[in-house]
Symmetry: C2
Subunit: 237 residues, 2 copies
């Protein structure tokens, strides 16, 4: 009877939850399928129909939930971007507390690289890493603004931290340093076998720990000791 009494309110509640769960469940199933397909074939390389087929839903649902192909594309970023942004901010906070300048730079480099490298090696979100790499190196007019909207803020935060850790660096040096970090990271994330092929299997981006070790070491050295000759001379004076 208690059950019966609860019927009115509780049944409604669970019903709401059930529907919403169903709605958001199909929604997330579409997102998951889209993420994988976009990562493998690029924005123009995959059709909405194919995504629908992979997600096992009718085509029309995609337009209903996301308002078109591009809306779906953006939704992926809206879902995933906070994940890595938050990790970077946490890493920067950690670096801020380090007194030794050299170690501080190394921690900043880690704050930038590690979250993404980790994401790549994680099974579930590896496709997002590739989709991100693609987008960075392929800013088509239509979706221009995705990177800017979601990742420019954190980029400025990182460069601010770099400037603080190395006060004698020029704005140009800081910026090129950041670009270098990002380039190495993106290239590694986007890799689909060449690194392993060229190295005869000795280097594997999936090996998160080893990859991070080598890349962090190199980029830290690049930032600490990679000054153009004129700037170095200026520094000596």
């Amino acid at each position: 009877m208690a059950k019966a009494n609860k019927t009115k309110s509780d049944q409604n509640v669970v019903a709401v939850e059930a529907t919403q769960r169903n709605a958001t469940l199909t929604r997330s199933r579409i997102l998951q399928a889209a993420e994988a397909e976009f990562a493998d074939h690029g924005f123009d390389g995959v059709s909405v129909r194919r995504i629908a087929q992979t997600a096992d839903v009718p085509v029309a649902l995609i337009n209903y939930h996301f308002g078109g192909k591009e809306g779906l594309y953006r939704a992926i970023f809206e879902m995933r971007a906070p994940m890595i942004t938050d990790q970077r901010i946490a890493g920067l906070r950690f670096a801020e507390m380090e007194p030794d300048p050299a170690r501080k730079v190394e921690l900043i480099v880690k704050a930038v690289l590690v979250p993404n490298l980790h994401m790549r090696s994680t099974e579930k979100s590896s496709s997002y890493a590739r989709i991100l790499a693609r987008e960075v190196s392929d800013p088509k007019s239509h979706r221009r603004g995705v990177i800017q909207e979601f990742f420019d803020p954190i980029a400025h935060k990182v460069m601010e931290a770099m400037q603080k850790a190395m006060p004698d660096r020029s704005i140009e040096e800081i910026n090129w340093g950041y670009q270098a970090m990002l380039g190495v990271m993106v290239y590694t994330m986007a890799d689909t076998g060449r690194i392993s092929r060229l190295s005869g299997g000795r280097c594997d981006p999936e090996d998160e720990m080893a990859t991070a070790t080598y890349l962090v070491a190199m980029m830290t050295a690049a930032l600490l000791h990679g000054r153009p000759h004129s700037a170095a001379a200026q520094h000596k004076a």
Copy 2:
């Protein structure tokens, strides 16, 4: 009469040359249009029709000359790849003659980066730089093999030179070092405005000299001083 006498042979010759010139002229006009379109929109983002329209030729000509969309795509690489490969080889030869190890490494870095950066800033071939950057970070199944076929050999040559210049480095260090160089280069080549935007206009990839200066300095430092801690310790021992 001399003219008339020559008619049979010479007229034929010039006629052949004229036709061939016309043929290769339209052929190169198609290639040029395709290069630009592919660079701007990616392989899947552009239709043969659009390329034909840009080149101002009938669609069927593309199929006739290149045997399809993918053939056209590959033809671009077949035309351009030797250009940069030769430059790199020349750079490596130059580095080989440098006795000072540190300077030798710097010359190797230059041999890798400068040809591509120069190509990017050149008006006519800037689109090829972007198309190349795209292909590196987007090895789709269909055209898989383009990078491997055209650029793996020179990659091995570069790493061989690196190994010679820094004999105490492990294979892993050499490989990751090369990947880092390439990543920075590709990312810079593929850029369509973010670097300039983030730096408030202070950094511009089109400024070949400045870009090369900063990137070469950083990557040289990365190779020379960017050893993982364990390797560095091993080195000290």
